[in-house]
Amino acid sequence: MTRAKPRNREEPSRHARLNLDRGAALRLAAGFAAGLAFWFAFSAPYERLLAAAAGGLIDAFESPAVTRLRASGGEIRVDRTDFPPASPRPGLPASDLHFNFVLLAALFALGRHPLSPRPFGRFWIAAALLFGIHVIALVFQVEGLYATRLGDWSGAHYGALARNFWAGGFHFYLVAGRFAAPFVLWWALGREEETSQPLRPRSRRR
């Protein structure tokens, strides 16, 4: 009798199933187009919501609460009540933050029945989580702006560690996080559908 060798890695074939076929490719393209159309249609109100949520979060930790964020013309305008009235208000490009919604929509469309209640519900849960990520990214962006781009004021109010934390955190989001977030959300929530469906008897055809 021989003893089976202990496995030193996971068995690939027992990993969650991935199935890419022509149907999946068509659904992906349709999901991409639908996500894009939705994104274009609702970007402006979404940016207002994002500015309100991130502004509220910054205010909650700011003493005194002076930051005011406003979304207009595809930008998030950063205003502070202690800015001199004549000084220009910085504007942050908003679409860079949240265009990854399109990726999320495309990935969730890969499933076999993306519009049936369970996967569709999970898509909106993922979209809500993505909104949370967008809010946090915007907070990092604004704090990064305060920490690095307001001249002497930045140096006086933010130390080296804080500067690296806020600016580096937002840079991570720009380079890797914004692309990884939809993938991670889909892998955790969207693909779950693929593995949790009950086994169905399959008819054999000759």
């Binding site: 060798k5 074939s13 027992r14 380079v175 890797a176 692309f179």
Partner: protein, 195 residues
């Protein structure tokens, strides 16, 4: 059924393990490419090479362009290729996913090499087409640059990973594998089956 519940629980654990490894690798790779010496010695020259190749392709397409460093210029339009436009971020995502996925190292390295080449090819199409759009349809440049192409390239990276991973899944399991019994007996998985 207990076996079914156990299998689902095991699948969930593997899935979480994959995500944890993926996120960790992504952070490590990010720090690597964001580190100034690596950025200056590898990323910037690599981006300049992309600019030269793109300039060459644009020349073949009849555009009269000049390339200086990471910038492509013509009399109508000029563009600076920066991080985010060099395909490195998609390669980071793809590389982290491939390395996090359970597969033999040789297969992972082959996947990495082929995937990186494919991503760069797609990115070349992106840079060339964006330059053309900027020169001939400037009104469409911003949306094409930020949303369309960026999403499309990342989506291609994800799809390349899924293609590679689905191929890896169909490979027979090691014959000497111990531990939990294999649901498919090591045979290629039927597309209709659940994990």
């Amino acid at each position: 059924m207990k076996i079914d519940a156990d299998a689902r629980s095991a699948a969930r654990r593997r899935s979480i393990g994959f995500l944890a490894r993926f996120c960790l690798l992504l952070v490590v790779f990010y720090f690597l490419v964001a580190w100034h010496p690596v950025n200056d010695a590898v990323i910037v020259p690599f981006t300049a090479a992309i600019a030269r190749v793109s300039g060459g392709v644009l020349g073949l397409l009849g555009e009269n362009v000049a390339v200086a460093g990471t910038e492509i210029r013509s009399s109508r339009f000029s563009v600076q290729i920066e991080n985010g436009c060099n395909g490195v971020e998609t390669a980071l995502l793809f590389g982290s996913a491939v390395l996090a996925f359970p597969a033999p190292w040789k297969r992972r390295l082959i996947g990495l090499a082929l995937g990186f080449a494919a991503i760069q090819l797609i990115n070349l199409v992106r840079v060339v087409s964006l330059f053309w759009i900027g020169a001939h349809r400037p009104a469409l440049f911003s949306a094409s640059h930020t949303v369309l192409w960026q999403s499309a390239v990342v989506l291609c990276g994800v799809l390349l990973f899924l293609l590679w991973a689905s191929k890896e899944q169909r490979r027979p399991a090691p014959a000497a594998a111990g531990g939990a019994p294999a649901a498919t007996g090591g045979k290629p998985r039927d597309p209709g089956e659940t994990a």
